[in-house]
Amino acid sequence: MERKDNNQAKAPQGAGEAARILTEFLEVAITCIIFLKGVYPHGAFERRRYMNVVVHRARHPQLRDYIHSSVNGLLPFIQKGLVERVVVIFFDNEDFPIERFVFKVNLNLSYGSKVEQSDLEFSLRSFLIKLPVSESLTKLLPRGCRWEITAYFRALPEASTSKDSELIWIPTDTKQWQQPPLITPIKSMNSEPLGVQLYLEHPSLSEPKP
């Protein structure tokens, strides 16, 4: 109930700024994950520097646009504190999820002080550093796989708030695992006003194969 109130009111300035930083970071991190998983040839990415770390950015306009618009489409929801998790899901050719990269977001909306990007940068950077070295934790993708970005909301957004940018996000009925997944944490950060946890989800061993 309290959350709903928060939804109504615009997030205070500090949290809003943190949300903006978060979306920017998510865009980069998701691109890095896509690069890491080798869904596309490496040539489809170019090296860039973000927060003083080498990251990869999609060269293909459509790919870049997809990540950019979907993450940016999340911004209003994040600012309202609606978004709980942002997940990059890799499906095999039968649309069965085989690996999920979960960003669990925790934004303190009541945080009023000013937030500088540099303050969060140190923590966020560690994600970008940790990601490439976590490749061994991930699963090898089969051929013909597919991926998508899914956001888990704490509550369904009200229809009235729909703006053009928010229309990008549609309800989904993605296949879910029957059994609780195996979780492999990659990186956590917890600072005011933002906490982010990145972990991997894999189907549990007892998961029935489709």
């Binding site: 669990k104 140190f122 997944p181 917890n190 946890q197 989800e201």
Partner: protein
Amino acid sequence: MSLNSSSRSATSNSNSKRSVTSNSNSNPSTSGNNSCRNNDKRNRKRKTDQNQKTLGMAWGANSRSSSRSAFRNSPFPDFGSYMVMKNQKLHQQFDADASSSSVSGACSGKPIFDGVSIFVDGYTVPSSQVMPNSEELKGYMLKYGGRFENYFSRHHVTHIICSNLPDSKIKNLRSFSGGLPVVKPTWVLESVAANKLLSWIPYQLDQLASETKKQPKLSAFGFKSGPVLDDLEESISGQAVPQSGIATLRTSCSLEANIFGKAECTEEVEECHSVSDDPFHPNAAESADQAPTYCMENHCEVELDAAVVVQSDAGYHSHISPCQDPKSDHNDCLEDHIIEESSSSKTIRPSTTGHSTLSDANFVENYFKFSRLHFIGTWRNRYRKRFLSSANGFKDMNPSRNAFATSQKTTIIHVDMDCFFVSVVIRKHSDLKDKPVAVCHSDNSRGTAEISSANYPARNHGVKAGMFIRDAKALCPQLVILPYNFDAYEEVADQFYDILHKHCNKVQAVSCDEAFIDVTDLRVEDPELFARAIRTEIHETTGCTASAGIAGSMLMARVATRIAKPDGLCYIPSEKVDDYLHELPVKALPGIGHVLEEKLKKKQINTCGQLRLISKESLQKDFGVKTGDMLWNFSRGIDNRLVGVFQESKSIGADVNWGVRFNDLNDMKDFLLKLCKEVSLRLQGCGLKGRTITLKIKKRRSDAGEPVKYMGCGDCENLSRSVTLPMATDDVDVFQRITAQLFGYFHIDARDIRGAGLQASKLESADRNMRGHEKYSIRSWLVSSPARKSSMAKGKGDQLYSDIGPPVQARGSFSGGEAYVAHRATLPALHDLDVGVIESLPPEVLSEINDLYAGELISFISKKKEKNAGNNVMDEEQSLSNPLVPPNKDFVHNVAEKIKSSEKEDEQYINKMIQGLPETSGSVTALLPETDSLMPSSLSQVDSSVLQQLPEELLADVLESLPAHRRPDFMSNDVYLDHIRDQTGAIDFLPSNNLWVGNPPRWVDNFRLSSCQLLNRIAVLYNKSSPRGQFSSVLQLIMSEYPLDDGGDDAVNCLCELMKQYIKLKIETDVEEIYTCSCLLRRLTSRSELFLQVYNCIIPHLQAAVGETYGGDLNICFIE
């Protein structure tokens, strides 16, 4: 469409008859079809064509069938099979003969020719005593297990026997012989006589041996199989040529000479190597040949041809034979090898060492040991050392002489030894004086060794320096070739210069055998007489003759010597200069080489007279200012050069461009190393060091074949690279490193390298160098370093932080000292010094340090003392509860907020914290070199309220960076913090179910007070851990603890409770930490029963918590 196309084809048919006919010929059936479509007329025409064609065809077919019909009568399908049958039959006959002879013949020898199959070709001398005809050869083959081929076949024949070949066959040897050896019949005879298979090499056809001026060919070593000659004596004893009257030694020598004379020289070389190396493995020869080899020409050729000399000159032989030590100096290698040859009359055993080409480890050394150019080059150095003092004296006199020169006519004598290199060698053999003699490092009469010097009788035959021996021998068969005798050269050159220096102190050495002397100052009455006296003395002392030229300038003196030679004297007075010069070829002038000569020739200028007709301006225009000037002057006999001082060498280096062949880069690298050593040695010998290092490589041009000169460099591309070092060097290692680097730039195939040279230029005297070196070298720093170190050690080790509190002092010291700036690099800043420590130092050390600080220290200390007294600074012993700095809430708040979780900015934070101190100004941080020095000397100087509000990580860091020696002042940080807690009352007593509350967390105290050692230990580890507050870091430390003692159930429960609370605390926000902890815990289970229990207890709880929060199970694995 189809109609169209057919009509088109029809027209094309009509246009070109040939295509139609060929079409019909090749495919009559289609033509039939075509004809249906085409009209009758065309059809008819084609028929006639066809008829004509078939007529011709029929003729051909007939002729063929007729020839074939002849064969059809015989059992052979064609000529080829006939020959096969014929050969088979002949073989059978031969085999039958062989078996019958071996069965019947008691005289049948052992099968020495086993595996040998000969083919007799061309002209063989009809049956005679020495030269067998083909029938006899066949007989020998029969008898001794060989084969005799009536028809040549590459597959059966192993050797071709003939005593003469037509020119066409010689020219096309390869296609004729198919690469097989062409051998004289004597080989068979002598092999039979020796009762073993001799090497065919010495019996190679003369024509081939002399005609084949190529590098060794692989085919030449195409031995098939069977024993190889390793015993010469038997062959000698069995030789048909009667030589009975001569001594055995002589016989063997001459025979060898004879034998080798027949073979191509380079092949001899190879052959000898192979035989000596491995007599029973003929393939060794092949491999030796395949490997591009470098070897000392001296070795090979001298060794082989010693016998030739012996043959040609018995007297000489007798003279040298007394030299009995085969291992004597290599300069006497000729003698050596003659001895060896004579001793090798039992077995062919070419000299003992260093010959196996690639394996010649001392190639470079030997190369220079036997190089005449090297001798001449290094002689300069020798001369410099020997006569430097007198040269110096001469230099001193120079100015006065110059003053003289203007007024007085100069007289210069040019003295040049006559054919120095020969006459020195033969000076003690009067019998050789009138014979043509040449000096060469090799005397293989067919070799490509160049003659270095020839005496006048030899020159009369047209023998010149630089000529190949074989050409010289052709011009003058009786030419005696002698090796160098470098010791003798040195001796004579020294004598020569001794005499010159004795007579005159103005000597300019040109070479070891040539010098200018300026006798102007001596005011000699008759320069001719003077010169004659010198010549006589030279002759008496050295036994060699010298020629002298006297003139007013160096140029003319040289011209005069030219005229005077040999053994003469010529005086060109200034008035006669023009006459002499008029007909002088321009080439004779110094400074005119091939290129310039060619240029002049193009302008129809051959003599100086012609040259004189051209104006100075036009000469300068055509040849450049300098050269033009020189030409103009020289053609007029004007030479302003003074009989000058000894010219210093501008570069020192070593070049090898003979015998350079490499298999791979490693060979090259070895070679370069040797070159480096050589250059380094030479530099050291001259007392010089070089700054620029140049590597020159001769690279075989891609289109260039093997050079005419054996092992020469041939047509090469000259590559060169150089590098200039900051410091001159003569160090082998430096050379090697740089050379390798330079070589790397070339990107060159080692096999293409035909020569290499290494040069050091920008020479500096080693002494001067040493001084410069000293100045800039690191050593000077090292020397002063002990003092520096000691002061540093004092500074660091004893902690100089006590005076940090009032930064005013730091300021004062800074403003008070340029010395501080000057010593910055070496000495700790004055304000970093702990006065207490300094004061307690022994006085002598103190004064030493004071010296280092240029006297600042003492005043600094006294200043400080005053300050301490006046400033009322808190002493270290002051109570903990009395904070130095009053709380500054605002500041603390800001900082705490900003820095939270940002470890990287800790330093900055600390700076800020210090800045927060009232007395501190911002500039301090910039002044102080070390952040450590920012730390207060003790906690007593820190505002506890500031500390209390710090985030825990930061607090840990602050505590950590407290001076170590201050620590004992407090029981522990925790005590101190407890103290703070008590003092502020902010932290209440917490219930035990909130173990992770507080800083340090509650459990730390609990554990420390626990009776369980393990828990105590964990509490201690918590204080050690970093980052503080993370249990994973504590677990990490536990991992490194050994052994882990078990603590019982209480400990398990405590830890479980601790973990549970930790999980509860962190699960929402830091699943990573929980994950790390559980992984570490799992690893600990293998080491300790206690942790296994904890793990088992925790995991269900953990998974439940994770499931609750994240909807999944933690995937726990080992963390390495």
